[in-house]
């Protein structure tokens, strides 16, 4: 049977993609950020997951306001990255795991989550930057040996956004779906985005360290206490785009009730954002 080995949450700021392209790993601005990733890569090397379920938000590459699904899941053998308009170099395609994708879609719809299934899905920086951070050698690896991926996209562009509680429950249903997949696969769940940031309005540049640190601590073993937050609470406390924390909660929902925190990092700023990183291992592993 398939099993979830652990979960990772990481920010997905576009500037990281540019910094990777320019290899700014030792640059004083970037070093404290990039130096936090090797322990997570070491864990991935040791555990060798077969599939990454990547919970992210599209920022206007695949979806426009003409059709804006709340929850959508990729069901394709591969996913293309593309020009987002402001200079990030597109990456080679990402490999899919369509059998597990369809199993997720079937299980989630059976559990009353109304999913949009996507046989073609452009994945943007919200998906691609975390993959580049976690599997930096992917682009040098032949496609068949690359990590297989399943994009799970949650709307954070146009309100109403799904509530923190709903996203946490979606994650729980993803956890059950993986556990019922007959193939012997190791699955890692990645939640991307966050932490506090706001790009728009007179409050642009808003950061809330106290709130972020509270979230980073509680999501480990008191995630229930975060699911009563409203989207309005998240926008007020974490900034308009800090509402991406719902993606972290979806990741946490997919893990067991008990987890081990193996690594975390918090760094201000990367561009306009407080960058967060967390590695949780299922306690039953």
């Amino acid at each position: 049977m398939a099993r979830i080995v652990g979960g990772i949450t990481t920010s997905h700021i576009p500037a990281i993609g540019n910094a990777i392209t320019k290899e700014l790993f030792e640059d004083p601005y970037w070093k404290p950020f990039f130096d936090s990733y090797p322990p997570v890569r070491d864990w991935l090397n040791e555990v060798q997951p077969d599939v990454a379920i990547v919970i992210y938000n599209d920022h206007g590459l695949n979806f426009f306001l003409d059709k804006m699904p709340t929850f959508s899941i990729g069901a394709a053998p591969r996913y293309e990255n593309a020009d987002e308009g402001w200079g990030l170099k597109p990456l080679p395609p990402f490999q899919g795991a369509p059998d597990l994708s369809w199993h997720l879609i079937e299980s989630l719809v059976a559990e009353e989550f109304d999913i949009t299934s996507c046989q073609e899905m452009l994945v943007d920086h919200g998906f691609a930057v975390p993959i580049s951070l976690l599997w930096p050698d992917r682009v040098k690896t032949e496609p068949a040996k690359q990590i297989k991926t399943i994009p799970v996209c949650i709307n954070t562009v146009q309100h109403p956004l799904p509530s923190p509680k709903r996203c946490y429950k979606l994650g729980q249903a993803i956890g059950r779906a993986v556990a019922s997949f007959p193939e012997d696969l190791k699955v890692v769940v990645v939640g991307t985005g966050g932490l506090s940031h706001q790009l728009d309005g007179e409050r642009a540049g808003f950061i809330n360290k106290e709130f972020d640190l509270m979230c980073l601590e509680r999501i480990v073993d008191q995630a229930d206490s975060l699911t009563d937050l409203s989207i309005h609470d998240l926008v007020r406390e974490a900034g308009a785009q800090g509402a991406e924390f719902i993606l972290w909660l979806a990741m946490r929902g997919a893990l067991d009730g008990k987890v081990r925190k193996l690594h975390s990092n918090y760094h201000i700023p990367i561009s306009n954002t407080a960058a967060g990183l967390l590695l949780l291992e299922n306690a039953g592993l």
Partner: protein, 120 residues
């Protein structure tokens, strides 16, 4: 109980909730900006901006906001920052440049404010 809709909650200073009302108001503006994912469209905008604004059916308010290069005005006209970022990208501007403009700071001041947020 479900949470009340954001529009029924106290407003957050300096923050526009991009809900259905704003999404309808800004639709042509955002649709134009969405087109800037493609280089040919970015080039067409630079080649003849007025014609491009016309092609996407922008309202006078949208057009004036775009011509003013003022991001707060674009947001008031229904622009969403993720799409507006693609317009900013045509001019080589990042979200830090856009943040500085919206907060009335120089880009260096805006960046310093972010760095300071990590020290407190």
């Amino acid at each position: 109980m479900p949470h009340p809709a954001p529009t029924e909650q106290p407003s957050i200073p300096g923050t526009t909730i991009f809900d259905g009302r704003m999404a309808m108001k800004g639709y042509p503006l955002n649709k134009m900006c969405f087109s800037f994912n493609e280089k040919a469209n970015r080039d067409a905008f630079l080649h003849d901006e007025d014609a491009y604004l016309e092609k996407y059916g922008l309202t006078e308010e949208h057009k004036e906001a775009v011509r003013s290069r003022n991001v707060l005005r674009m947001i008031a006209a229904g622009g969403n920052i993720y799409y507006l970022a693609k317009l900013a990208g045509i001019f080589g501007l990042t979200v830090q440049d856009v943040g500085a403009q919206q907060t009335g700071m120089s880009v260096e001041e805006f960046k310093a404010k972010l760095v300071d947020a990590g020290r407190n």
